[in-house]
Amino acid sequence: MSLSIKDDEIDIVIGALRPDLTSFMNEWRTIFSRFHLIIVKDPDLKEELKIPEGLNLDVYKKPDIDRVVGTSTSTIFSGYSCRYFGYLVSRKKYIISVDDDCYPAKDNKGILVDAVAQHITNLTTPATPFFFNTLYDPFTEGADFVRGYPFSLRSGVQCALSCGLWLNLADYDAPTQALKPEERNSRYVDAVLTVPARTLMPISGINIAFNREVIGPALLPSLRLGGEGKFRWETMEDIWSGMCVKVVCDHLGLGVKTGMPYVWRNDRGDAIASLRKEWEGVKLMEEVVPFFQSVRLSREATTTEDCVAEVANVVKEQLGSKDPMFARAAKAMVDWVKLWKSVGSSTSSPGA
């Protein structure tokens, strides 16, 4: 853990889609206990939450969400999107967010991975999006920039987002997992790397961390599949949000890292059953990817909020007519920026 980061600069936001968080909290206790937790209960979840004692946390349920944003707006926080409410009400600089079916993983030496510490390290060391370093993260112990890496690019840029990975149940889509029902990810790749500028990727919401002050409004609930469900196989909301975040980061000169930390993702659900729902999302990506690859933001967009508003506009103009889902997503993005401005704390100007 970086000595200059105080524990009270961090919020850990957990979206609760299942009521019993006992084993989740107990497994994460040693890693989470120093920090403040924000638990957001899926407003659709009927059962009471079961959370063990002894942790520093705030729990938000449907009535709380209704109170803050109004009953008509609270529907945007259904399902996995409930965590965005946590991002909205947090006042901390850094947010770390993991799904409630993920547990601490062990590294190649059998040592428990402190996912929080690794995310914070990722966020507080520079990213290097303008030129690829073949030895991966040059700021990590025992590594550096390789021969041929321009010196003018070695100070890097601020890292706004840290995308972690998953052992055991990887974040595959339903068709892939259904085709290989026994496949589990057992490969621990000991690396963090910066995703190059203008390179897009599927940013999974299962295990992420970000600098809320710099990029907060760009993580947003907007794309909702018609048949969106309560398994990750049945959603694309995070993938959509992630594309927005990367485009905004690229425009503002901020970095995105991927790789460690790993979390252990428990088996849950049935890929074949989810197939029925997720084909919708799979089809959408064929449009979504080329679209985001072509988005160029204007020079006047200098804040994250401005960037998100511009992306929303382009979504409306170019994708809105292709599918009402996109038109709704565009509107949701605009509404989110307004909501962030009124409820969320403001972002600082992103530093280079």
Binding site: N108, F131, F132, N133, T134, L135, Y136, G142, A143, D144, F145, V146, R147, G148, Y149, P150, F151, S152, C163, L165, A170, D171, Y172, D173, T176, K180, E183, N185, S186, R187, Y188, V189, D190, A191, V195, P196, A197, R198, T199, L200, M201, P202, I203, S204, R232, W233, M236, I239, G242, T258, V282, M285, E286, V289
Partner: protein, 363 residues
Amino acid sequence: MAEPATATQAAAPAVALLKDELDIVIPTIRNLDFLEMWRPFFQPYHLIIVQDGDPSKTIKVPEGFDYELYNRNDINRILGPKSSCISFKDSACRCFGYMVSKKKYIFTIDDDCFVAKDPSGKAINALEQHIKNLLSPSTPFFFNTLYDPFREGADFVRGYPFSLREGVPTAASHGLWLNIPDYDAPTQLVKPLERNTRYVDAVLTIPKGTLFPMCGMNLAFNRELIGPAMYFGLMGDGQPIGRYDDMWAGWCTKVICDHLGLGVKTGLPYIFHSKASNPFVNLRKEYKGIYWQEEIIPFFQQAVLPKDCTTVPKCYIELAKQVKEKLSKVDPYFDKLADAMVTWIEAWDELNPIGPVPNGKAA
């Protein structure tokens, strides 16, 4: 990874993949003792040794290897006046080996690179991994967060468009190094004791539009797809710069691959790099490069190749033109280099006429 694998630990694979389709190109001025350690992995393959330095010296090749060897006299004889494009007193001369090869694939390795061990202690067959990398597709258009989706135990992640899952042909496979990392002279001077002990179990495609520093120590490529772009420039004797040969080839190669829709992979395999070169010598060689790369890299990042450049030689000639136009003002060296790039293509075409070529050794 404290030591390299010892020769007895390296076990020959049951099947030597691409045995008759791949040449191993090794530049050397010293000796080829290191081949003894690689024997179980390399022996089935044909070697092309490019001897740099004093041609009157005899380089001993260990018994049992099938090879052809070229010294400076051979290079001059074969290329005539065009031999001016091949560097002298620099390992950049290795690209002569690429030109003279008749095989589809090339693997090139430095003579101070030994067999490495993976975390389980097993000897790494670097050549086999390079071949796997080259024979499976690349995915440059969208980044897969689980790295190479074609590896055993991995796949494309949720959100990866199905239309992009076929990938594109892989033109080059860039391996890494345990022990002595490939640092530049300033970094070596500041961290003389740093050793790379981190085994990163990943192969990944370098995304389209992203440049990287390509190291020639542990590199394989599809010669038919990208060979003519692998010119290692003018380095060494009589040149103002050294240790930028592979860098130059890498930037040209990546720009051309991006233009033609070909892939470049980096990551596994690791070799064990045993010898740290003298950082003061390196500093003298690299000195100009450290300044020039500040101009060179934006040049390559902004380089656009016209649509009618549909083959690698055409792309390369066009790049040479742009180098002359835009980089000559940085230093007259680039003017010479641009000319040498053209000479290289002319020599390549001469030695590799279109049409079926017989598999044969050097004259």
